[in-house]
């Protein structure tokens, strides 16, 4: 037998099996916060991650985490809630936003107690800086709500949560790749089939609950701020399990990526007083957002930069970028508050932002959409009776999930908050679920065979396209057809292009069929997820005939609340779209009805 066929009876019998109360897939901030909640409640929890936990993408987050601590300027959670809903262009679910903003301060204090080395103010309290889209008193003066550890907030958050999990004796499966969920005929999720990367051996992890915390999918675009591992695996797994993805048309382009390269320069650099310039040396944001200027919401700033460049006011030989000026802040502020981005500029551009402005351009950054959940982290889908029925045993949190607290546009500093708030909430709900579900359900062998077939397919030999070739094409097509500004023609063409790429997937072949630490095979499995999620994104974008948040349609320039104040749901089966209402009713306060959005 030349080709290993895992999906045979013998292998199924011999495959390693482990059993836990609870499985967490992903060891970024979301997964680790959930795991900590579970481990501290003495649940038996396994965390699976395709990279060593501190290599997860959360480590790259720079600017900070939002909470209305009011350490620097007056603030309260209700103002934070208003800003988040306005920032979302009214597509966020208001119950979830209220929950997040109310809980924020408590969770940031908890992180401090856990050891996060936040920067400090003179009075010893946590340092906070202004970020985009923040206001006092429901749209008034700029607020300072973002708690920071210099510009390494993600690093300190991730390392601290990992350290606390070591303390709590969480069981880690480092460098294990989750292939697919295990599902039974009653719709329960029973764990996952995973691959031990080092040995190349598959393994089954049975669990009464499974939490997906696999992060975002910036890698569907060519130029992006994301780590190479951000390939939307959890979203792909959900789609293959028949679960739709929500609001995938909303992809955030961060205004300040390093031009041509993509690395992120934190919004915190504008929070510290930096601003943008075009080739005439004009501070152009004054035109687009007279009040908030450079600290308007990200979608607004990205579109402004795009317009400046398109209308010929870009900087450089090709006029293809603008400048971010920090040289007026002084060496002390840059070294103390922005040491990481200074390093990055020195390494990748050979310039020092203390004396030279940084060339920047909008870059694919954050996935607002994802696996639909409620505010307890339970995955919810329309099944029979309502638009939000739970899938028993399945949870999602972090960037792979869509609660939705970010709606059509996420505010900076709200994602680190999202991952800890909903990671913890999911952990708490799982603890309750485990009380009512004391025993493992019998495992479904058919569902395991599916996952193993997906793996063994990559053992096929012979000529075919390469993983790298098809992936590059995918990223290029997404950039060309689903970028900052969109039109029907281009999106329709994008759908066709990505569908054609999907059709070619079965012809892709690996040349490396070795077992031990075969990273080529991992990249192939990731490519399958990228293609599925890219399709979800263009399909959802082509169907939404309005402009809202990050989804800017040239042919439908206005927001259309009458027809489009609703969430998109995309199903991989038949590439079908469905819609469900936005939750406009908060938990205790009054609803914020849609208003015109100006900054």
């Amino acid at each position: 037998m030349g080709v290993t066929n895992y999906a045979t009876f013998g292998v199924l019998m011999n495959i390693r099996r482990r059993k836990f109360d609870s499985l967490v897939i992903g060891a970024g901030g979301g997964g680790l916060r959930a795991a900590l909640q579970l481990a501290q409640a003495d649940a038996n929890v396994a965390v699976v991650s395709k990279v060593f936990p501190t290599r997860s993408h959360t480590v790259a987050a720079q600017g900070g985490i939002n909470a209305a601590l009011a350490n620097v300027l007056p603030d309260n959670w209700h103002w934070h809630m208003y800003d988040t809903i306005k920032g979302s262009d009214y597509l966020a679910d208001q119950d979830a936003v209220e929950y997040m903003c109310r809980t924020a301060s408590k969770l940031v204090y908890e992180l401090e107690h856990a050891g996060v080395p936040f920067s400090r103010l003179e009075n010893g309290k946590i340092y906070q800086r202004p970020f985009g889209g923040q206001s006092q008193d429901f749209g008034g003066a700029q607020a300072a709500r973002t708690c920071a550890a210099a510009d390494r907030t993600g690093h300190v958050l991730l390392h601290t949560l990992y350290q606390q999990n070591i303390h709590a004796k969480t069981h880690f499966f480092d460098e294990y790749f989750a292939i697919d969920l295990i599902k039974d005929d009653d719709g329960f999720i029973l764990g996952a089939v995973v691959l031990e990367i080092e040995t190349g051996e598959p393994m089954i992890i049975e669990a009464k609950t499974t939490l997906l915390a696999t992060g975002g999918v910036g890698r569907i675009y060519r130029t992006n701020t994301n780590a190479r591992i951000n390939t939307g695996d959890g979203m792909g797994m959900a789609l293959r399990a028949g679960i739709p993805l929500q609001d995938m048309e909303f992809f955030q382009f961060h205004p300040t990526g390093i031009a041509g390269k993509g690395m992120l320069i934190t919004e915190g650099s504008r929070g510290e007083g930096g601003y943008l310039l075009n080739k005439h040396g004009e501070r152009f944001m004054e035109k687009y957002a007279p009040n908030a200027k450079d600290l308007a919401s990200r979608d607004v700033v990205s579109r402004a930069i795009f317009t400046e460049v398109k209308e010929g006011r870009g900087v450089g030989e090709n006029g293809d970028h603008v400048l971010l000026k920090l040289d007026h802040l002084g060496a002390d502020v840059v070294k103390k508050r922005l040491p990481g981005i200074r390093d990055m500029c020195l390494t990748f551009l050979g310039i020092d932002p203390i004396d030279t402005p940084i060339p920047i351009y909008p870059t694919a950054h954050y996935t607002m959409g994802g696996i639909p959940t409620n505010r307890h982290g339970q995955v919810v889908v329309p099944i029979r009776h309502s638009a939000e029925e739970t899938i028993p045993g399945l949870y999602a949190a972090g960037e792979c999930a869509c609660v939705s607290v970010h709606g059509a546009n996420r505010l900076g500093g709200n994602s680190l908050l999202d991952i800890v708030v909903f990671g913890r909430a999911a952990g708490n709900h799982i603890i309750d679920f485990l009380k009512d579900h004391r025993y493992h359900r019998p495992i479904n062998e058919a569902s395991i065979e599916h996952a193993l077939a997906r793996l063994s397919r990559w053992d096929q030999k012979g000529d075919g396209e390469s993983v790298d070739g098809l992936r590059s094409e995918l990223q290029k097509e997404m950039e060309d057809h689903c970028g900052v500004y969109r039109t029907q023609d281009i999106l329709d063409e994008g759908v066709k292009k990505i569908q054609a790429i999907q059709k070619r997937l079965p012809d892709v072949r690996l040349t490396d069929h070795s077992k031990v630490f075969n990273t080529a095979r991992i990249e192939a499995l990731e490519l399958e997820n990228l293609v599925e999620v890219a399709l979800a994104t263009v399909h959802s974008a082509a169907a939404r005939h309005e402009s809202r948040g990050a989804h800017s349609r040239v042919d439908f320039p206005d927001r259309d609340d009458k027809n489009w104040l609703k969430h998109t749901l995309y199903y991989a089966q038949e590439q079908r779209l469905d819609y469900k209402p936005v939750r406009m009713q908060p938990l205790t306060v009054e609803s914020f009805p849609p208003k015109e959005r100006v900054y």
Binding site: V51, F52, T54, R55, S56, H57, V59, A60, L69, V108, Y109, E112, H113, A114, G115, P117, F118, S119, R120, L121, E122, N123, G124, K125, I126, A149, R152, H155, V156, H159, T160, Q163, Q164, I166, H167, E198, A227, R228, I229, M263, G340, D343, M344, T347, F348, G350, S466, V467, D468, L510, T511, D512, S514, K515, V516, F517, N518, T519, A520
Partner: protein, 231 residues
Amino acid sequence: MRFSIFRYDPDKDQKPYMQDYELEGLSADTMVLEAITKIKVMDETLSFRRSCGEGVCGSDGMNINGSNRLACITPISELKKPIVIRPLPGMPVIKDLIVDLSQFFHQYRSVKPYLITHDPEPEIERLQSPEERDRLDGLYECILCACCSTSCPSFWWNPDKFRGPAALLQASRFIEDSRDQATAERLSELDGPYRLFRCHTIMNCTNVCPKHLNPSKAISDIKKQLVKHII
């Protein structure tokens, strides 16, 4: 441009060997990670770890022209040709440039790398002055890339007993933290001939750290604290 890269697949190779690759048309600002990623497009079997691509996750520590560096922030223009790339030294090789870091992480976990406090938690943040917080600068930024510990001769010879520079830097990060209340336990845990005192101040660790941290200084700070503590 020629790259000479360490290759080893335990299922196939009796012993490791060096393989040469030629790459044309690389721009001067190309980083080693981009270069070996291009090589991987030509030869899928070449294996290495990588994630962030910007020097913050610690995945791609490797030995480049004889010193331990992060491939993603090492420009090829700085390097003598041919560029010789090997796995981090002194650790068991799993495949090609991928080493087994179990010992390294074991030592990290052994220093109890988490804040230990005994007092009840306040309702708000614990206060810490900017000066107290400054003492953590140069310690908290470690990305666990293992470049330092795998360049330390004392760690090569005693990876099971000597904690190594990365773990000791972490120990120092908590000893120096004004909020931590386990300083005495931390110090006495490190006393004895091996865990701390195997460091002979050879400074390799500090010379290679890609985040410009100074484990060697952290170690001598702990030694000083320990002396004070004993007296």
